[in-house]
């Protein structure tokens, strides 16, 4: 347990080193990229100092060594200060705070769709296949494989074509910020969310089905049958609970892919979220902004994995003892 938490902290440090180290390799100068070649040298020097590249705001001042910069940045992270964006000249926190609700809303929305539909469908499929309908299983197999294979952006294009163009149920660019009210906000997120969820639902359905079929073939199910336990009871009381571990794992993994999914999807629906922010950061070489976002997301992922491992312990008494 303690070990597991320590591992997470270690991983976090490695991630920060990795991210920071990567940006040291950047050949272009982010300040030059912002100001262009013919910028005022005084202003440029001031800007360099402001973002922590040099030791003083004078022209030609010595550069801060990368290691010091790393530790400054790191200590900033612990104070929840991600630095100041070069491009927007605002603190990264401030930038994130306006974008975060959109992305988080989108992520939670599609995660809920994933979980509810994925597990329900998965259990249903496992149940039907268990009672001997193999053709149904085969059809689901094909559908889910296709669902996993479709890239999110292509899925969203297809949804737009179907729902907005053919059926005209929703407008193409329907995004409304949270200030416009929860209803319109969520309505605007319907399409992006279901676009992300196509792959997720397919994946979860497959995992749930596979986990349950595997459990159904296990010895204790056989034993339960020999006791005279009904198939229904076996499915819900024994199999579902025991297959929770792979299901929980896949749910955790989904969170990471929902984040990447939303980065892409925000582009399609022009939702002003973290994804669009990051892309504009990349395009303008704003390393501080991109670093900040990456660390932010990586932390979310690390915490998710940690929570997952703790969840295993709740589910499985065997792990409870071991860990």
């Amino acid at each position: 347990m303690v070990k597991r938490i320590l591992y997470s902290i270690l991983t976090f440090f490695l991630v920060t080193v990795l991210i920071f180290g990567l940006f040291l390799l950047m050949p272009q100068d982010p300040i030059k990229m912002k100001l262009g070649d013919e910028a005022d040298p005084v202003f440029e020097a001031a800007l360099r100092y402001k973002h922590g590249f040099t030791v003083s705001p004078e022209i030609g001042a010595a550069e801060v060594p990368p290691v010091t910069r790393y530790f400054r940045w790191l200590s900033g992270l612990f104070r929840l200060d991600l630095g100041t964006s070069i491009r927007y000249d605002k603190s990264v926190n401030e930038l994130l705070s306006t974008r975060l609700p959109n992305t988080v809303g989108l992520a939670i929305f599609s995660f809920i769709i994933d979980v509810i539909l994925g597990i329900a469908l998965g259990v249903f499929v496992a149940k039907v296949t268990n009672s001997g309908h193999y053709t149904f299983g085969a059809i689901i197999n094909i559908l889910t494989q296709i669902g996993i294979a479709i890239p999110v952006f292509f899925a969203s294009i297809l949804w737009i074509l179907l729902i907005c163009i053919k059926l005209k149920w929703l407008p193409v660019t329907g995004f409304k910020p949270l200030e416009a009210g929860l209803g319109p906000f969520l309505k605007g997120l319907i399409l992006p969310a279901i676009s992300i969820s196509v792959g997720g639902i397919s994946l979860i359905v497959r995992y749930v089905r596979n986990a349950m079929t595997e459990e159904l073939a296990s010895d204790y199910v056989r034993c339960a049958r020999s006791k005279g336990v009904s198939e229904r009871r076996i499915l819900y009381r024994h199999v579902l609970r025991n297959s929770l571990i792979p299901i929980v794992t896949i749910l955790g993994m989904r969170l990471a892919s929902i984040i990447t999914g939303s980065i892409v999807i925000e582009q399609v629906y022009s939702v002003p979220g973290i994804g669009t922010l990051m892309i504009s950061g990349i395009n303008s070489g704003d390393c501080i902004l991109v670093q900040g976002i990456c660390v932010y997301i990586a932390t979310v992922v690390i915490v998710t994995y940690l929570v997952l491992d703790l969840l295993y312990m709740v589910i499985d008494p065997r792990i409870r003892v071991k860990a």
Partner: protein
């Protein structure tokens, strides 16, 4: 048996302790004693049977002897030299002297090789790289085991369990070992094949004058193959003696329990009365078998018995037996 010669292998105070991860957050790290202070000798040409229930440390002993495991303390002395203190070169020369036959032939042969390939690999590693020379070693052995050359071209999965185990034995013999550790070699096999393997092991042992440690949980098999028997319980040797001594004149209560559980076809056995397995108490002052022992007294709970020599070579770890000296003294006292 050559009684006056030095033993080929001496095991002295062998102990193996595993660390067990703690179960609670702020708990001290636990240890598990797999083997506790085991000492015994194996003489040239002798088969020593190790018997005990699962988890008694018999496999651990075997693995330490072939150096697949490192002992926590104690020495394994092979032909007068401690195998852990040998120089690298010396060890390399002696490495192939001690070989092991594994329990499950299904996992003991690499599926990616043919039988012949495996044999060549074995010879290669001892420096015989020429194909013709390799053949000189392989072919007679194969013929000797009553197998044909065509076996060499087969893959392990094409063979049945018994055939695989035979190949495993041949692989061990290929490097001219002097000492073999046979770990439950027949327990994964069917009864009808078991006899083939047991016969084969006995035959080659006689022919090549091998020394052997034979590990098994099966009382019948141990009796059948062994000259001497070591009874182990929870990592400790509780009794050691010749076959006859153990089976007819066994003295330790655990030996009695084991023997009473022996089922044979002809005799209807009576139930051994043993208490349910209580918590195992590992302490320097408690007899390891006390929690299960029907005869346990206060003494057993407060003093750990030492291995006592009841007769030459017959050792028992129990408070209820007398050493030879004690017995002699008692006899003298009675005579007086």
């Amino acid at each position: 048996m050559a009684e006056n010669r030095e033993p080929i292998l001496q095991v002295k105070n062998l102990t193996k302790i595993y660390r067990v991860p703690a179960t609670k957050i702020f708990e001290k790290k636990k240890t598990f004693i797999a083997l506790n202070d085991a000492s015994f000798d194996v003489h040239y040409g002798e088969t020593v049977g190790l018997i005990g229930e699962s988890g008694c440390g018999k496999s651990t002993t075997g693995r330490i002897i072939v150096k697949l495991l490192q002992a926590s303390s104690g020495e394994v002395i092979y032909e007068g030299k401690d195998i852990n203190k040998m120089s690298r070169k010396e060890f390399k020369e002696n490495r192939t002297d001690i070989q092991m036959i594994f329990q499950d032939p299904a996992t003991a042969l690499n599926p990616q090789f043919t039988i012949g390939g495996l044999m060549r690999e074995a010879l290669r590693s001892v420096g015989i790289k020429d194909k013709a020379e390799q053949d000189k070693k392989i072919l007679p052995l194969i013929a000797h085991a009553g197998l044909t050359e065509e076996y060499l071209a087969r893959a392990p999965h094409e063979l049945s369990g018994g055939q695989k185990q035979r190949i495993c034995i041949l692989l061990a013999l290929l490097l001219d070992p002097k000492f073999i550790v046979a770990d439950e070699v027949v327990s994964a096999l069917d009864l009808s094949v078991q006899a083939q393997i047991l016969n084969m092991i006995r035959r080659i042992q006689k022919e090549m004058n091998l020394s052997m440690i034979f590990i098994s949980h099966d009382l019948n098999i141990i009796h059948y193959v062994s000259d001497r028997i070591i009874v182990m319980y929870m990592g400790e040797i509780v009794e050691q003696g010749t076959c006859e001594e153990i089976y007819r004149k066994g003295l330790h209560p655990y030996t009695h329990l084991l023997l009473s559980s022996l089922i044979t076809l002809n005799a209807d056995n009576t139930q051994g009365e043993a208490k349910d397995m209580g918590e195992i108490i590992r302490s320097e002052s408690v007899c390891i078998f006390a929690p299960r022992c029907p005869k346990a007294t206060d003494q057993c709970w407060h003093e750990k018995p030492a291995l006592k020599e009841v007769e030459p070579g017959h050792l028992v770890k129990c408070h209820f037996v007398q050493t030879m000296e004690e017995a002699a003294a008692a006899a003298r006292a009675q005579a007086n």
